[in-house]
């Protein structure tokens, strides 16, 4: 499964990405958070199993952040592998998102 969603406690959820994080996941990724309307909800995007990320994935993260902002929630990027971490750094996304190792 390239994308799996699981709840985290009662105020968060984890979206786990495996394999390629690219435009093919566009719909599934959006479905994963679209109906979440809880105020202050924390979305954790776990990239430990992701092998590749491109600019459309950066765009998808921005869309998630936009949604989270309307809920006064938060987006945390978890465990990006080295290559993906580098992409996030070049895009200075570490200045826009919380990134946890």
């Amino acid at each position: 499964m390239p994308l799996q969603v699981s709840p985290l406690g009662d105020s968060g959820s984890r979206i786990q990405i495996s394999g390629r994080f690219d435009f093919a996941l566009h719909r599934d990724f959006r479905e994963a958070y679209r109906n979440q309307a809880q105020s202050g909800h924390v979305f954790r995007v776990n990239l430990a199993q992701a092998q590749y990320m491109d600019s459309s994935a950066l765009g998808m993260l921005l869309l998630l952040k936009e949604h989270a902002d309307t809920l006064r929630g938060k987006v945390v990027i978890e465990a990006p592998p080295l290559a993906i971490r580098r992409i996030l750094e070049v895009a200075s996304f570490d200045k826009v998102f919380s990134i946890e190792a």
Partner: protein
């Protein structure tokens, strides 16, 4: 031709053609088919069968293998050819054993076979299966047609976008024969963009951008980007202001999730330093002309443009020392992430090696050769862009290819002025506004450049010496530059009262079209005669700016005890 299929659903299959020379078995099959709701046509030999098929276009054929004239399999082949793209299930009739018959039948282009004598239940089952397959086939064909149509439309749209892009966006670029550029798109349309524009101070600004997405999505961003870039750089706006405006425009225009990674390089004509901004692109490389080593790398310092509502505090373009003979290289991630057939990436190390190993005048050739050798024809997934900027005096003073001709000199008189008080002086740069006005009034580019220099000198004098009371001599000392600007920042922040009025007028004087530039400040003024005596004697180094202005103007006079200066420039 409608009938009711075994499944009960309406079928448009059309009549069934039964080809059998044996009248008994033919009749039996005909009867069964009529009972199932099909119209039936009959043929007694191969020739008759082909003829009837051509005439009536049946939707289904039952064909005996043993025919008196032509071999059943050959008849099948001819019928298939006549049917073309149309789905016409062909069922062989045979008394041969199952396994052997089926193999030969399928090989000959048949879809199924019925062993003789036919049984009603078997026929029914096969008809159901045939119906099911036909529906699938029809759906697939409809979808395929729709897909082809959409694809053709998309292709046409992309070609239009490509034309608009080239014409409207790239044509304004400052003559780029010295800027070496590689722009290789991954498909019809390029999501990377390269823009270059001269600054009014005689310098050059180069931008390399990488939009998310391809095709039309990138085109939409490129047009306003190019217009903003050329207009603002041409008017003399500073880098920070140009970037702020681009960021705002893209953020407003592009949907969330779409943005443009970009790097911007600004070079002054004296080649003393380069100002570089990198948001989301691979490191900008500066190669030392003398040694060939990398003098500096400027990594990405900020998220791409169009992501954040405003710039992160404390992040600004970097000012770096360069020298004549250096080379600056910009590229998009299509270069560093280009892969070879095995999936390995080109990477920063190989790029830097190519840049440093190359002879100074062949850097572009070496990098592109290295990239091509590495990728060895592997499929290009992303747009590849590369700009090599040789830091040479010849880079400057070029006009864009599509530049303005020489319109007739303005004959109408006009006057324009702008007065800025303390708060506005802190927040607004009046120079681009003045240049914008000159452009709007039809003053050609060739004049706007020296006019900008004159205005810049007069304004900085009025502000820094007239209002803020700074000592200009400090500015010209080697280490005094930084200290001077620190003082300037402080003094400007503390300014409570005071105003500067900038004025422009266009008049005919003594048969010449003249621009009269005026600058008035509300400061205490200065000893005009004393200054003029000192600068005339060449003893005061800090009057240099004014000397240059005098050289460009027909006249320069100080009035009102030095609070007002009027320069006359002949068009």
């Amino acid at each position: 031709m409608n009938g009711i299929a075994p499944s009960g659903a309406q079928t448009l299959l059309g009549p069934a053609l039964v080809v059998d020379d044996d009248p008994t078995s033919r009749l039996v099959l005909e009867r069964m088919l009529l009972a199932e709701g099909y119209q039936v046509l009959a043929a007694i030999n191969g020739g008759d069968a082909v003829g009837q098929f051509a005439a009536a276009s049946p939707g289904l054929v039952f064909l005996d293998v043993m025919l008196p004239d032509i071999d059943g399999y050959e008849v099948a082949r001819q019928i298939r050819e006549l049917a073309g793209d149309r789905y016409v299930p062909l069922v062989f009739l045979s008394s041969l054993s199952e396994g052997e018959a089926l193999t030969r039948c399928i090989a000959a282009g048949g879809d199924d076979f019925l062993s003789k004598p036919c049984r009603r239940e078997v026929l029914r089952a096969k008809l159901t299966a045939i119906e099911r397959t036909r529906r699938l086939y029809e759906r697939a064909r409809r979808q395929n047609d729709e897909l082809n149509l959409l694809h053709d439309r998309m292709q046409r749209d992309q070609e239009i976008a490509e034309q608009v892009f080239s014409a409207a966006v790239m044509a304004d670029n400052a003559a780029s024969d010295l800027l070496q550029t590689l722009l290789r798109s991954a498909d019809t349309f390029n999501g990377d963009i390269m823009l270059s524009a001269p600054t009014p101070q005689g310098g050059l600004c180069v931008l390399l951008g990488d939009f998310t997405g391809h095709g039309l999505a990138a085109a939409i961003g490129a047009l306003p980007l190019s217009q903003t870039f050329h207009a603002m750089v041409g008017k003399g706006f500073g880098m920070q202001e140009v970037l702020t405006e681009i960021n705002a425009k893209l953020r407003h225009l592009l949907p969330t999730g779409m943005f443009m990674a970009g790097c911007l390089v600004r070079l002054e004509p004296d080649l003393s330093h380069a100002t570089i901004w990198n948001s989301g692109m691979p490191d900008v490389l500066i190669r030392d002309g003398a040694s060939g080593a990398l003098r500096a790398r400027v990594p990405s310092q900020h998220p791409p443009l169009g992501v954040l509502p405003r710039f992160l505090p404390g992040v600004a373009p970097l000012s770096l020392e360069i020298a004549n003979g250096d080379t600056i290289l910009l590229c998009s991630d299509g270069v560093t992430e280009a892969s070879d057939p095995g999936g390995e990436l080109f990477g920063e190390a190989r790029l830097e090696a190519a840049v440093c190993d190359a002879p100074a005048d062949a850097i572009f050739a070496r990098v592109t050769a290295s990239l091509d050798a590495f990728t060895r024809g592997a499929h290009q997934d992303d747009d590849i862009s590369l700009v090599v900027i040789p830091c040479q005096p010849a880079l400057f003073g070029r006009r864009p290819q599509g530049g303005e001709g020489t319109p007739g000199l303005p004959t109408t008189s006009w006057a324009w002025s702008l007065r800025l008080e303390a708060d506005s002086l802190r927040s607004t740069d009046p120079l681009p506004l003045a240049i914008g006005h000159l452009a709007a009034m039809g003053i050609p580019e060739a004049h706007r450049q020296p006019l900008f220099m004159i205005l810049a000198e007069l304004f900085s004098n009025a502000l820094e010496h007239g209002l803020l009371g700074l000592d200009s001599c400090l500015k010209h000392e080697t280490d005094g530059f930084v200290a001077y600007y620190a003082q300037r920042e402080q003094a400007l922040a503390a300014l409570a009262d005071g105003a500067i009025t900038l004025s422009l007028a266009c008049r005919q004087e003594d048969g010449q079209a003249v621009i009269v530039l005026g600058m008035t400040d509300t400061g205490p003024g200065f000893d005009v005669d004393g200054l003029e005596r000192a600068t005339a004697g060449g003893r005061l180094p800090c009057g240099r700016g004014i000397q240059v202005v005098r050289g460009l103007c027909r006249s320069l006079v100080f009035l009102d005890q030095g609070r007002r200066v009027e320069a006359r420039y002949v068009l």
